[in-house]
Amino acid sequence: MTVSFPARIDPDISARVVALAETVRAAGYPGVRDVVPSYHAVTVYLDPIRTDLDSLWPALEEAAGAPLESGRPQRDIVVPVVYGGDAGRDLAEVARFAGLSPDEGIRRHTQRRYRVYMLGFLAGFPYMGIVDPRIAIPRRATPRPWVVAGSVGIAGAQTGIYPTTAPGGWHLIGRATVEPFDPRRDPPCPWRPGDVVTFESVRAGAGR
């Protein structure tokens, strides 16, 4: 069962999505197995045998229409990144795309605050935005067979962090010095939908 909002990448819509997902989770409706927020929708997985569908749907609609509480706490997370070099092999290409120096490209990436809209693709992969339009380079024409865990990439208006080594098509500009995902840690990843992430440029060897 999915509650959809207008299909846009929009912080206000995202705030509604995150609030609705939290409300559904906190309500503990019988039979609800999982709650998955995305850019513009909340999908509720349920067991139709245990769930009273006739009462759940109106409850979701009501929660979706409820006004947002103002002053909801927002978590700020700083992610240190080693830009360029081996870890960010596409930094020069991103700079060329933008018509800027690599340093200016880094500055433009670090000066924005990015909302975590959703996690997906890989366990712990955050879809964040909105990237400065000047450096918002589209996906690579051919994905790389392997992108190293921790790599920070750009795909259009989105920026993300590869939590595990995997195939990937985003342009890579650096590597985060935090462990993005560890299933044995609680919580397993530092970010969740609704958080605000800023990147900080550090030199190789810092952190970790």
């Binding site: 045998i49 996690l119 366990a123």
Partner: protein
């Protein structure tokens, strides 16, 4: 109590009821491809239905029991022997210490489940023992079984093994299957839909599962589905059974190891009651989709659950 893997077979993994509750962190559910047969393998040996079993794919393993224990195999039909004795599907057997269960030739279906009294005991990761092959955790070190692996078996819980034969309550596919699905146009999920013309083509095509089909999804070969609109889609949640259509027009049926979210256009979703049958298809098998409405989908699931409750409540001794 331990089981030693003498021969892993083609693809044998540890699966329980699935890793529910962490999809908002991008963590896939995994779990059995055919949840009904998985549950029956547990029930027949006296376990609760969601204990960890071994999912066997196409070519079965050889397993040595390093202690006496009770086991059962359900799902796809295999010829099996416990040392020299033929083993019947769906029935609880007592394996002596040092005996070896060997899978032989396969009949209908693609995946069988080995249940043992007490369940396979691997560490819980995010609340589940299921193997997540893509993320590399869960099950035994996040991977398929290998020769020489040793699997711990948990302490016996629940009831005594049943003196009955529990077989899947649906016909196992022999070369292919008709699968019921709800058209994406009729559901409330987000994202653009494939149009009516695409849907007509989709339901009249006999698709074949491509060789690269796996636990994440089935790649379907057939007449390509014509997409009306190829604008990029905002990623959203992708339930088990979602049929996506990438720009190539060749549909992908998302299965147990699917990613939590996806951005391709969606054409239909397989109804929950038919997911176990879909999970019994293998590469080269055909699949045809029949449209069904939401009400009949829920009714089919309830009927299936009631059948399961009847068979699982049957007495421990006949």
């Amino acid at each position: 109590m331990t089981i030693r893997v003498v021969d892993p077979g083609l693809l044998t993994t540890v699966q329980d009821g699935g890793r529910w509750g962490s999809q908002s962190l991008g963590v896939p559910v995994a779990g059995p491809m055919d949840e009904v047969s998985h549950s029956l393998a547990n029930v027949v040996v006296g376990n609760p239905p969601d204990r960890a079993t071994l999912e066997v794919t196409l070519v079965g393993p050889a397993l040595e029991f390093l202690a006496g224990m009770t086991f059962a195999v359900t799902g796809a039909e295999f010829e099996m022997r416990l040392d020299d004795t033929p083993v019947q599907m769906g029935v609880a057997h007592r394996a002596g210490c040092g005996s070896t269960l060997r899978f032989g030739s396969r009949g209908a279906g693609a995946r069988a489940y080995v249940g043992v009294a007490g369940g396979i005991d691997v560490p819980l990761v995010l609340g589940s023992r299921s193997t997540d092959l893509a993320s590399g955790f869960g099950g035994l070190d996040g991977r398929r079984l290998r020769e020489g692996d040793q699997l711990a078996v948990g302490p016996r819980v629940g009831r005594a093994p049943r003196r009955v034969s529990l077989r899947p309550p649906f016909p196992l596919p022999e070369g292919g299957s008709r699968i019921r699905a709800i058209a994406a146009l009729d559901d409330d999920d987000p994202g653009p839909r494939c149009g009516d013309a695409a849907l007509a083509g989709f339901t009249t095509t006999r698709f074949t599962l491509a060789a690269e089909s796996n636990r994440m999804g089935y790649r379907l070969c057939g007449t390509p589905v014509a997409l009306a609109d190829e604008t990029p889609v905002l990623s959203a949640a992708t339930p088990f059974g979602t049929v996506q259509v990438p720009p190539s027009g060749h549909p992908i049926l998302l299965m147990a190891d699917r990613q939590t979210t996806g951005g391709y256009a969606k054409i239909a979703t397989v109804i929950s009651a038919d997911l176990p049958v879909a999970g019994q298809l293998g590469p080269g098998d055909w699949i045809r989709f029949e449209l069904c409405d939401r009400r009949s989908a829920v009714a089919a699931l309830i009927a299936q659950q009631q059948t399961l409750m009847r068979v699982t409540r049957c007495p421990a001794k006949l």
